[in-house]
Structures are given as C-alpha cells and as structure tokens.
C-alpha cells in the first residue's frame, strides 16, 4: 500500500530547509567514491545535479538521448530566471517570491518546497555568475533585472533572449569538467526505457543505445530522473520536438506516483499554426504584451487587412474585460480569452486561428527605434516564420502548450514514493502548483540540481552504506531488459500503415481539443474513449520501418508515442476528477458569472497522485492534503 509522506521538516517555514540540512545524513568523502548515482537527463536539472554530485565525489553515470548534454529542451527558454536578490531595492525578498509563486500557482503547491525554492534562488544566481553565465548588465557593470509575468517587482535575470541557453551551457560546462576528470561517465544518445526496482528500491535503468540499438542495463545506488515535461503530449507545443514523457512514465509504471497530470500551462503568445504539417509552435516572449495591444475585428466577417480596419471596428477585448490589468492579465486568463474570440468566429489570419497583437500605437508613441531595441530579435523571428513584418502589420498570436506543472510525485527531499528514485526539474510536480509563473522553471530546475538533490540523495545513500552495487544479472534487471526487448520487437513487427507521427498528431488533436485550455466532463469522458480507441489502432496499424540495431527515428518515436497515449488518458482522468477550476486547469462547469476560474478549496486543496494498476485498469488516486499556514487562501482577481 502506498503512503504519501511529504516528509516536511518541522518548525517555522523560514527554518525548515536549514533544519533539514542539518538532519540529513552525510556520507564521508572516502565512502562517496563507493556510490554510483544514475542521472537520467542532462537538461538544467540533470546536468546541474550530475555535476554537483560528481564534485562531491560520487560516481555519476549521466544519460541523455541528445547527441550532447549541451542540448536539451532547457536551451530554448528565452525570458529569464527569477531570484529574490532585491538588487532593485523594490521590496523583493524570499518571502515575496514565495508568496508570488504560491499565489501564481493558484494555491495548489506545497508551501515548504516553494519557500525553499525562494531561499535558494539567490545562490543560483551567484553560482551561475561564477561559472561565467553572461547575464545582462547595467552600465555600472552590475546585474540587470527586468519584470516578468504578473508580479510587481523586477527580479528576473536574463541573458538577451537566450537565458535558458546560457544557463544550460553553464551547467553543461560544469558537467563536462567532471566528465574530463573521469567523475562522470557520460552516455549521450542513450535513452532510458525502463526503471529497475529491486526490493522496493530503485536500483537501475534499462537503456537503448540509439546508435547501435543495444539494450543495456545500468545499476546504481540511486536513480535521479530529470527528464523534462510532457507538453508534447499535445503534439503541437512550444517544447522541443524530442521532449517526451517516457522516462517518467516508465517509472510510473514501475510504481512511482504521477501527480496532477492535468495541470498544463498554455502560453498566450505563440505564433498560430500554419498548415497541417506544422511540426511545432514557436513562443513569442510574454514581454511583448508590455507594449502590444491585443484585438480582433468586431465583425467576424471582416476581411479587410488589419491596418485598414478603423478603431471603432476593433475589439480590444482584454482592455475591455479587464480594465485594471488590460493586456497584462496572467497567462491562463489571456489564453482563455483568446480562445473565446477564436471559438466565436472572430479569429484572424487565413485559418482564422489567431488574434492580433498590435504595436502600431507603441511605435507611434515611442518610436520605431525603441520598439526595435526592446523586441528587435522577436520581430525578426516572427518575420522569419510568417513572412509578415510586425512593424507594419500586427502580429498574429494564439495560445500554445508550453509547460507541464504535473509530474512524478516527490516528497520534500525530491524523492518519489519509490526509495532511491529522485526526480528533479520539470519532470517532478513539485513547486508550481496549478500554474507556473514566468521565469520560475529555470530557477526550479537549477535549485533542484545544484542545491537540493546533492544533499537529499546523500541522505539516502548514507542509509545504503556497505550495500554493494546491485548486479545487472539479477532478475529485476533481466526482466526489465526483456520487456524492453520485447516491446522493440513488437513495434517492428506490427507492420501497419501509419507512422508514429501520424498517430501522435491525431492524439495531440484530441488532447488539445478536450484536455486543453478549457475542459468539461463530457469532453473528458469522450477523450478517454477516443484515446483508448486510437491506442488500440496504434498497436494494430503502426508502421515502424528499418530495424532495431541502427539509428531508427521511427522506433524511438514509437516508444514515446506509446507512452503519450497512456499519459493522455491519465490527464483526462485527473482533469475529470478535479471538479474545480484552478490555474491551468479550467473546467467549464466551474466558473464565475463573468467567466473566471472558480476554485474549490474545501474539496480539492490536495495533490492528486495516481498509482498505476496496469494498462487496462484505471489508476488509483492518492491524496496529499495541502495546508496553508503562511499565506491566506484567496481568490485571484485581475479585473
């Protein structure tokens, strides 16, 4: 029987982490060498964890399916990273960052974790600066900040529009230093396809070497998953094409609980999809809403080009509906509003699937130079993709999936319910509740990797002292190995007619339509049926060409899409059971008269963590009640 113990330390919230660090057991330097830690994923969370553990003296084996740890989805983050440095003297503090994050997450995250995140945020900046991350500077030579997404202080550090890239390259360089020193054994182009659990503990993984197809077992005293989010379940998202849920999902199927899968974030300012073969969506930084005005034509049959539509025929619907915040309402609110306009037929563009984001007023007011200085690179990117010049024509934007708050359930120590299995970064559910604030994912990934996991994994390993590395010839390894081999054979043998991408696209459409920005019970039930029947087809009609012992793109996708099917179903189930609207989860049945989200703290103030029961039995729900002692539960209002 699974019990959910979050293991939150006692004491006042400010002192919990300090106390925990004192209570966590240590491993002496000579013994650290005897432990092998497996780190799957070398994005921000994984690379930082692997490097730090190696610095401490552990043997680390790091895995990534990318060709180099310099690549990971993290590299695409544009906007920035938060930290409560209060360099701007504008009243920021860890407590305020904590408060903003809890509120932004719509009161569905764990207070203690978030507080720790806010405390650690300042150390992250120090560490990254020391590594040589070229953050933006003032003319004084000191670090510059900007404000970001719905908070009142400037606490976001950034490196042009490439913050994620620079942070990842920092973590990557630290990792490569350890690789050079022989402390980290690096396995690029190696994909984890199963978790090995022996006597209730995570003891290793099964991988496929993507170059040779070799399926291998790796043993470790502990396993860390930092394998990113599952946004690609929607097929079209802003996530990198290869991001997937397989590692987390396989862990789930080996017993790890999956928490809050229905909490997904839809970002309001992305470039709308063009044609059917559109492969991914591109995010346009949220900062554009600082100067751009969002509108649609009042008449849905208006075919005039935007600049010929006079003022009185335009509907600046955000400014109209939310006079106080206007175009700067939070992500979920802006996204849903855009969806409403498009659903009601007022969308713009050839497919009528976007809304205008117009800079003509800002250009008239501030001059083209100022706008160019602020957004030049974004405008260029937009023009590159659409062929339209945003200085002349308003941009067309539409919401797209961007981030997944849900993930594997972890306790305060970032350990899942399987001892020895730790989860960091976007792959866990930990800190963002039902909605993530801008510039906090990078912060969380690095907090987990640099400053939390190295302590908490040590504590676990201290209890494993004297235990030898499990042998990969043990039955659990061999069983897992065999199941992966069998599945490989199975995919290659189906011999149907449709490519994995083709299925994925169809699945994505179901998920987007029914488990997207707005959900309702009937739609969710329909989604479960549709997903199941499509999944049945998948195992009958999939076509994977080539063979298993070379680089085989379709085979890689076949595994990932198979897992997306199961995950999508769980998302629907989670969304269905959560009879409230909160953050990224909006149930049409639960809204106020003016269309705002209606939370139900009475009944749903908990983390919903699901336990796998086999492919055809619905998962079991476990609840971790959330208590709020340091912030008052309040309704978000932006009107």
């Amino acid at each position: 029987m699974v019990t959910l113990d979050a293991r939150i330390p006692e004491g006042p919230i400010e002192e919990k982490w300090e106390k925990a660090r004192f209570d966590l057991r240590l491993v002496n330097p000579a013994n650290k060498r005897r432990f092998t830690v497996i780190v799957v994923g070398t994005g921000l969370a994984g690379a930082s964890a692997a490097a730090t553990l190696a610095e401490l003296g552990y043997n680390v084996k790091a895995f990534t399916f990318h060709d180099s740890p310099r690549r990971a989805h993290s590299i695409a983050a544009q906007g920035g990273i938060n930290a409560a440095k209060n360099y701007q003297n504008d009243g920021d503090s860890p407590h305020r960052l904590f408060y903003d994050t809890i509120k932004g997450g719509d009161f569905r995250s764990r207070e203690a974790n978030v507080y720790r995140l806010a405390q650690i945020s300042v150390n992250i900046i120090d560490q990254c600066v020391a590594q040589g991350v070229p953050f933006a500077r003032e003319y004084s030579g000191l670090l510059e900040n900007r404000s970001f997404g719905g908070v009142q202080v400037s606490r976001t550090f950034y490196a042009r529009g490439q913050t994620g890239q620079q942070l990842l390259l920092g973590a990557y360089s630290a990792l490569m230093r350890q690789v050079g020193l022989g402390a980290v054994q690096l396995h690029p182009r190696t994909e984890m396809l199963d978790l090995v659990v022996e006597d209730g503990r995570a003891v290793g993984i099964i991988t496929r070497d993507l170059l040779t197809g070799a399926i291998e077992a790796h043993a470790g005293h502990a396993v860390i998953l930092a394998t990113g989010g599952y946004g690609n379940v929607y097929y079209l998202s802003t996530n990198a094409k290869k991001s997937n849920a397989t590692a987390a999902w396989r862990a789930h199927k080996r017993g790890a609980l999956f928490a809050n899968p229905c909490y997904t974030q839809i970002h309001p300012t992305c470039i709308p999809a063009g044609d059917e073969f559109q492969s991914k969506l591109t995010l346009m930084s949220e900062s554009l809403r600082n100067d751009g005005r969002i509108w649609v034509p009042k008449d849905q049959n208006d075919t005039r080009p935007p600049h010929q539509i006079p003022e009185q025929d335009r509907d600046y619907y955000l400014e109209r509906r939310y006079p106080a915040f206007g175009n700067l309402v939070p992500r979920d609110v802006a996204s849903r509003a855009a969806k409403r306009e498009v659903d009601e037929g007022r969308g713009v563009g050839p497919k009528k699937n976007g809304v205008y984001l117009d800079f003509s007023d800002a250009i008239a007011r501030l001059g083209r130079d100022v706008i160019e200085e602020r957004y030049g690179n974004l405008f260029e990117m937009y023009e590159r993709i659409t062929g339209d010049d945003p200085y002349q024509m308003p941009m067309r934007i539409y919401p797209a999936t961007h981030y997944t708050m849900g993930g594997l359930w972890v306790d305060y120590n970032l350990q899942s319910n399987i001892p020895g299995l730790f989860v960091g970064g976007e792959a866990n559910f930990s800190d963002h509740g039902a909605n993530r604030l801008g510039a906090s994912a990078l912060m969380q990934g690095l907090a987990d990797g640099y400053f939390v996991l190295p302590y908490t994994v040590g504590d676990y390993l201290a209890g494993q002292l004297g235990k030898p590395l499990p042998s990969t010839s043990d039955a659990p390894f061999q069983d897992a190995l065999k199941s992966v081999q069998d599945q490989t054979k199975q995919f290659l043998a189906i011999g149907g007619t449709r490519s994995p991408d083709d299925f994925h696209r169809e699945l994505g459409k179901i998920v987007w339509d029914k488990i997207g920005m707005e959900r309702n019970a009937a739609g969710l039930e329909q989604a479960i049926t549709d997903i199941r029947s499509l999944r049945d087809d998948y195992y009958k009609d999939l076509r994977v060409l080539g063979n298993g012992d070379t680089l085989n793109d379709s085979l890689e996708k076949a595994f990932r899409v198979a897992d997306f099917f199961e995950l999508a179903e769980l998302m629907a189930r989670d969304a269905l059971h959560r009879e409230e609207s909160c953050g990224g989860h909006f149930r049409a049945e639960h809204q106020t008269a003016d269309g705002e989200a209606k939370r139900d703290d009475e009944n749903f103030s908990y983390v919903g963590a699901w336990e796998w029961n086999g492919p055809d039995t619905p998962q079991t729900l476990h609840k971790e009640e959330l208590t709020f002692e340091n912030v008052h539960l309040a309704t978000r209002s932006y009107a």
Binding site: G182, L186, H187, L211
Partner: protein, 251 residues
Amino acid sequence: MAQATPRSTVEAAVRPIRKRPKPLPWPLSLYQTYVGKKWVMAITGVIGLLFVAGHMFGNIKMYMGEQEFLHYAEGLRTVAYPIVPEKFLLWVARLGLLGALVLHLHAAFSIWNHNRKVRPVGYQSRRDYIAADWASRTMLWTGPIILLFIAFHLADLTWGVEAVNPDFQSGEVYQNVVASFSRWPVATIYIVANVALGIHIYHGAWSLFQSLGVNNPQINQGRRIFAALFALAIVAGNVSFPLAVLLGIVE
C-alpha cells in the same frame, strides 16, 4: 583531459586525427601546433611584406637614371659601414629572409598536409562559397608561383645564370635589368609572377592580422583596405618596371 578508454559509443566513433604534442622548450613550443605555425607564417609573411615593399621602393630609383640606381645598389652593400664590414647587413638580411622563407614554406606545407586529412570524403555536391574568395583559396597556387619566381629572379639578376640571362655582367645592375626585361618572355614572367604575388598579398596582408590576433574594432575596417592597397602598390610598382623597359621609358 581526454581519457584513454572511450566512454560511450558516441565518443568511440570519433578518433583524433592527430596526437597532442608533448611540449618542447620555448620558442620551439610555438611551432608545435597549427595555431602557432600560422603565427609563424604571419610573422615571416610580414618579413616578406617588408622586403617586397622595400625591394619595390628601391627599384623605383630605376626611373631616376642609371647613376641613381647604381648608387642605391651600392648603398645596400654599405649599410652601417664602416661600423660593420661591407655587405655585412646585406648578408644578415639575406639569411634572415632565407630563414623566413624556409619557415613560411614549411609552415605552409605542414598546414596543408594537416588540412588535407580532415575531410577524407569531400562534398559530393557543388559547394557554394560565400566568403572564401579567389585569393584565399589560391594561396597554395600563388605561393609556389612566387617560389619559382624567386628562384628565377635570383638566377636572372643575382647569380646571372647563363641559361637564364646570357647577357649578365657582374656589377652592372642597371644594364642587367634592362637587358633582361627587353626580352618579352622574361618580362611576361615578371608580370605574371607579380600578379600572383599581388593576389597572395591581397589575402595575406589581411589574414596576418587574424593570425597574429591584431584585432580591434577601430582598425578592423582598415585591414581589408590596407591589404588591397598594399597588394595594388606592389603589383603596380613591380609590373611597371618590365613595362617601362619594354616601352622604352627606361633604357
């Protein structure tokens, strides 16, 4: 530092094409790597440039008549005389130039030899170059042309090798030049070789700034112009001499 045993199939698939050298004492250590060799090329190239410029400049005396020209030749032999013996500095310069040439050649050869290994299978479709211009891609052609020319030039006017310059008379510098350039095949060789030299310099006089790491936004624009003007001046000057003789301006 790279470990002996490969750590993954990805890494194992890529083997170094060269061993990292064990460091020799300075300044030999500079010459052990290609970045160092390129630096040596640039330094020796600069020596060459100075020489070529000086040589061209001195030869302009030709237009001032035989007396002036002989006087200049005499002057070269007696630089710093009587502090040092006659021709002493001339020989220092000659040996220095020879040394520079040898290094320049060796470095060029060894860079070529290295680079030819790095793309064993070339592109199977047509390449479309953008920046690599005609000059930069023909350094290995213009270089050897210059080398042959240097040999020819020495045989012609310094050593007076019978087969090359039958009318050669020791010490009669001016007459030797006029006699030589009056033969159109010789004049043509001079003209062609100097155009090659010009092309070589057009790339080299820009490239050396990169190789030496002389880079500053204030001068970067100027480097291209400098190289172009330098090349132009050398070609114009050196080509003018045979032309002047052929056209009877100098006789």
